[in-house]
C-alpha cells in the first residue's frame, strides 16, 4: 500500500498572497476554463457536452448527500415548451452550518473566484441566466469576499450581458441568510430565498422541475461548484485519477476537536482517519480517541474501531454511517457521550423548523430525556424510550433534519450504551428508587 498523500486542488491557491483577488486567481489559471467553454476554436461549446463532462467525471455533491452532479444538471428540462420554457435558475447553497462543517466558509474566504467561475460555467450548462448565492448570514466576511469577486467578474466581462462575446448572459446575486440551519435543506433554502420562513417543501416535485419561483432550478453546494472549473481544465480522466471509482476526486476533510493539528486537509476520497491523523499530528496530548463523526453531527458516530474505514460515500455507508460533509470532529476519552449527544440534541431541537410533528415534538422530548439523564435522574427505560422516539422520527419526518437528529442518539446508544446505563446507576444512588430502597420497600 502506498503512503497516503494530500491532493490540493480547491485548496491549492489558498497559501498565495491575496488568494481571493481576481489577479491572483487568474495568475494561477483562473477563468481559463470559462474561456475554453465560451471562446473555444469553434465558438461556445454545446452546453450538453459540459453536462456530459461532469457526468463522466463522477463528481458527486459535496453538501452531504453525494448525489451525482451531472445527473442533477441533466434533470433540468430543456426546450421551449412546458416547464422547460420557464427561466432556469442556479442556486448556490452556501449556508454552511452542519455542526463540525467548516470547509465552504474558508473556501469562500480564500478563493471566491473559483466559486464564481463555477457558477458561470454551471449556469451556461443548465441554461440559466440568473444565479443566487445564498450565503449564511453569520459568514459576513465570506459575503464581502464573494460580493467583491462578483463585482470584479462583472468588470472583467465574466458576468453580465454577452459574456466574453458568447451571447450568454448571466447575473449573480449574493444573498445573505438570517440565521436558520434548516435553510441548508435545499427546498427550505428556496423558500427562504423567496422571502418566506425557511421550511422544507414536499418532494416531488423536485427543484429540477419546480424550484425557485416554481421554475427549473439546480441547487448545489459551494465545494461542488468550485470543483467545476478544475474538471473543465483537467478533464474527467484527470479527476478520476483521484479517489475511488464510485467516489472520485479530491475532498476537503475538516479535522477539529482533540487533535494536535486541526485544520483543512484536501485528500482523495477514500482516505482513512488513521491516515489523516498521521498528517494531523495524532490525538491531542496523546489522549486516546473515543468517538468521532465522519461528516458532521448528522452522520452516525464512529469509534476508535473505525479508523480504517475508507472515507468515501460507499465506505462510510458500509460501516453504518454516512460521509456527509467530511467534517471530522474528534473527541477523546475525557468527553461524556451522553453529554455530547445532549448538546447535539439541543441544536436539533433549536433548529427544527416546526413544520412536521415527528421532528418538532420528537426533538423536544428527546432533549428533555437527555437532560434528565445527564443530570443523573434518568432510568434504564429512558434508553428504550429514546430509541422508540428515534424510530418514530427516522424516515418519518418531512426532511433530513429529523434523520440527522436521530443519528448521534442512536449511534451513541449503539456504541456506548453502558455509559447511559452508568448515568442511571448514579441515579439509583440518589433518586427516588434509592430512597425507596432506604425505607426497605425493596427488601
Amino acid at each position: 500500500m502506498t503512503e497516503a498523500t494530500l491532493t490540493p486542488v480547491l485548496t491549492r491557491s489558498w497559501t498565495s498572497a491575496r488568494s481571493w483577488s481576481q489577479d491572483t486567481y487568474e495568475r494561477l489559471g483562473g477563468y481559463q476554463a470559462l474561456r475554453a467553454v465560451l471562446r473555444g476554436a469553434d465558438g461556445p461549446v454545446q452546453p450538453d457536452r459540459l453536462i456530459q463532462l461532469v457526468k463522466d467525471s463522477g463528481l458527486r455533491g459535496r453538501g452531504g448527500a453525494g448525489f451525482p452532479t451531472g445527473l442533477k444538471w441533466s434533470f433540468i428540462p430543456q426546450g421551449t415548451t412546458g416547464a422547460a420554457a420557464k427561466p432556469h435558475y442556479l442556486v448556490l447553497n452556501a449556508d454552511e452550518g452542519e455542526p463540525g462543517t467548516c470547509k465552504d466558509i474558508p473556501l469562500m474566504m480564500a478563493d471566491p473566484h473559483s466559486l464564481v467561475e463555477g457558477c458561470v460555467i454551471t449556469s451556461y450548462a443548465i441554461r440559466a441566466n440568473y444565479c443566487a448565492i445564498y450565503v449564511r448570514g453569520e459568514a459576513l466576511h465570506c459575503i464581502r469576499r464573494v460580493q467583491h469577486a462578483v463585482n470584479e467578474a462583472y468588470a472583467a466581462g465574466y458576468l453580465g450581458k454577452n459574456i466574453l462575446g458568447s451571447g450568454f448572459d448571466l447575473d449573480i446575486v449574493v444573498h445573505a441568510g438570517a440565521g436558520a440551519y434548516i435553510c441548508g435543506e435545499e427546498t427550505a433554502l428556496l423558500d427562504s430565498l423567496e422571502g418566506r420562513r425557511g421550511q422544507p417543501r414536499l418532494k416531488p416535485p423536485f427543484p429540477a422541475t419546480a424550484g425557485l419561483y416554481g421554475a427549473p432550478t439546480v441547487v448545489n453546494n459551494v465545494e461542488t461548484i468550485a470543483s467545476v472549473p478544475a474538471i473543465v481544465r483537467g478533464g474527467s480522466e484527470w479527476f478520476r485519477a483521484m479517489g475511488t471509482a464510485k467516489s472520485p476526486g479530491p475532498k476537503i476533510y475538516s479535522l477539529s476537536g482533540h487533535v494536535e493539528l486541526p485544520g483543512q486537509y484536501e485528500a482523495p476520497l477514500g482516505i482513512t482517519l488513521r491516515e489523516l491523523l498521521v498528517m494531523a499530528g495524532g490525538m491531542k496530548d496523546g489522549i486516546p480517541l473515543k468517538f468521532w463523526t465522519p461528516g458532521g453531527s448528522s452522520t452516525p458516530l464512529f469509534t476508535a474501531e473505525h479508523l480504517d474505514v475508507p472515507l468515501d460515500f460507499e465506505g462510510a455507508a458500509a460501516a453504518g454511517s454516512m460521509l456527509g460533509t467530511t467534517a471530522i470532529m474528534l473527541f477523546n476519552e475525557t468527553v461524556s457521550v451522553p453529554w455530547a449527544v445532549m448538546k447535539w440534541t439541543e441544536f436539533y431541537k433549536h433548529e427544527s423548523c416546526g413544520k412536521c410533528t415527528p421532528c418538532r415534538e420528537g426533538c423536544y422530548w428527546l432533549l428533555e430525556i437527555l437532560r434528565r439523564m445527564v443530570a443523573g435522574e434518568g432510568t434504564e427505560s429512558d434508553i428504550e424510550t429514546m430509541l422508540d422516539v428515534c424510530d418514530n422520527i427516522l424516515g418519518r419526518s418531512f426532511c433530513a433534519l429529523g434523520d440527522g437528529a436521530v443519528s448521534p442518539i442512536a449511534s451513541g446508544i449503539q456504541y456506548f450504551r453502558q455509559e447511559f446505563l452508568d448515568l442511571c446507576k448514579t441515579q439509583a444512588g440518589t433518586g427516588p428508587a434509592a430512597r425507596a430502597d432506604l425505607v426497605g420497600a425493596q427488601a
Binding site: L6, P8, L140, R196, S256, G263, F331
Partner: protein, 244 residues
C-alpha cells in the same frame, strides 16, 4: 398600499435602498430577508415600524412579514447593543471551552449578581460600549474552536481569559482586531452590509482571512511535495451523448 406611519422612522435613503434591494431579484418578495437586515441597520432591531415598512415596500401584510421575522435568529426583536457578541456553545466548541466562555461572559457582563441572559444587553442599547450577548449554534469554524463572533467577525481559539479581555475592551469603547475578517465597526453597520450596502468594499475585503489551521493541509502538501496529478496539456470535451 402606502400609509404614512413609517415615514418618520425610515428616511428617503432607506426607501431608496429598499427599492435597490427589490431590483436585484426576479420577484420582489425575495427582497424581504435583506430588507429586514436593512431595517435593523437603521433601528438596531426589527420594530413594528420596521415590519410595517417592509410590508409596504413589498405589498405584503404585516402578519406575513412578522412570520418571517420570528423564524430567523439574526433578526432581533429588542434594541441591540453597539456590539453583538455570539458565543458558539455547540458540542465541539463547548467541549473545548465554549460553555465556560459563555458562562463567564454572562457573569462578567451581568450586574448585581445577575448574569446577563441570552440576547440581553448591557449598557444603553446602541450607545458606545453596549453589548448584546447570545449563545449560538455552530459557527462553521470548528478547526479554530472555541470561537466567538463580534458583529459576525471571527475571534478564533478563545479562552475564558481572552474572551473576558475582549468584552472589557468593547465595554471601554475599543475595537480589538478580529482574528479573521474586517476591522470591527458596529452591529448596525454590518447589518447594512448584510443588506448588500458597503461603504468601501475593496477596502473591507482586505484583512486576515486564512488562519494557520485553514492552510495546514496545503502547507503540509507543499512541504512534502504532494500534489494532485498534473492536468493534461489539452482536454477535449466529450462528444454529445447519443439521443436515445
Amino acid at each position: 398600499m402606502t400609509t404614512p406611519t413609517a415615514e418618520p422612522v425610515f428616511d428617503e435613503l432607506t426607501r431608496q435602498r429598499a427599492k435597490e434591494i427589490i431590483a436585484r431579484y426576479p420577484q420582489s418578495r425575495s427582497a424581504l430577508l435583506p430588507m429586514l437586515h436593512l431595517v435593523q441597520s437603521v433601528q438596531g432591531y426589527v420594530s413594528q415600524d420596521g415590519i410595517r415598512f417592509c410590508a409596504e415596500q413589498l405589498d405584503l401584510t404585516t402578519a406575513e412579514v412578522s412570520a418571517v421575522v420570528t423564524f430567523y435568529t439574526m433578526y432581533k426583536r429588542r434594541p441591540s447593543g453597539e456590539h453583538l457578541v455570539s458565543v458558539c456553545t455547540n458540542t465541539l466548541c463547548a467541549a473545548l471551552g465554549g460553555d465556560a466562555i459563555y458562562q463567564s461572559l454572562r457573569e462578567r457582563l451581568g450586574s448585581e449578581g445577575r448574569p446577563l441572559g441570552h440576547e440581553q444587553t448591557v449598557g444603553e442599547p446602541g450607545s458606545s460600549g453596549s453589548i448584546t450577548l447570545e449563545h449560538v449554534e455552530c459557527l462553521a469554524a470548528c478547526d479554530l474552536a472555541p470561537v466567538l463572533q463580534v458583529n459576525y467577525e471571527y475571534f478564533d481559539r478563545q479562552s475564558v481569559e481572552s474572551a473576558g479581555e475582549l468584552v472589557d475592551a468593547l465595554r471601554r469603547g475599543e475595537k480589538p482586531r478580529p482574528t479573521r475578517g474586517a476591522p470591527l465597526t458596529d452591529w448596525r453597520t454590518v447589518e447594512r452590509e448584510l443588506a448588500g450596502f458597503f461603504d468601501d468594499l475593496p477596502a473591507a475585503v482586505e484583512g486576515p482571512s486564512a488562519a494557520e489551521e485553514t492552510l495546514r493541509g496545503t502547507r503540509l502538501a507543499e512541504r512534502n511535495g504532494w500534489a494532485a496529478p498534473a492536468m493534461p496539456e489539452h482536454v477535449e470535451l466529450p462528444a454529445l451523448p447519443e439521443k436515445k
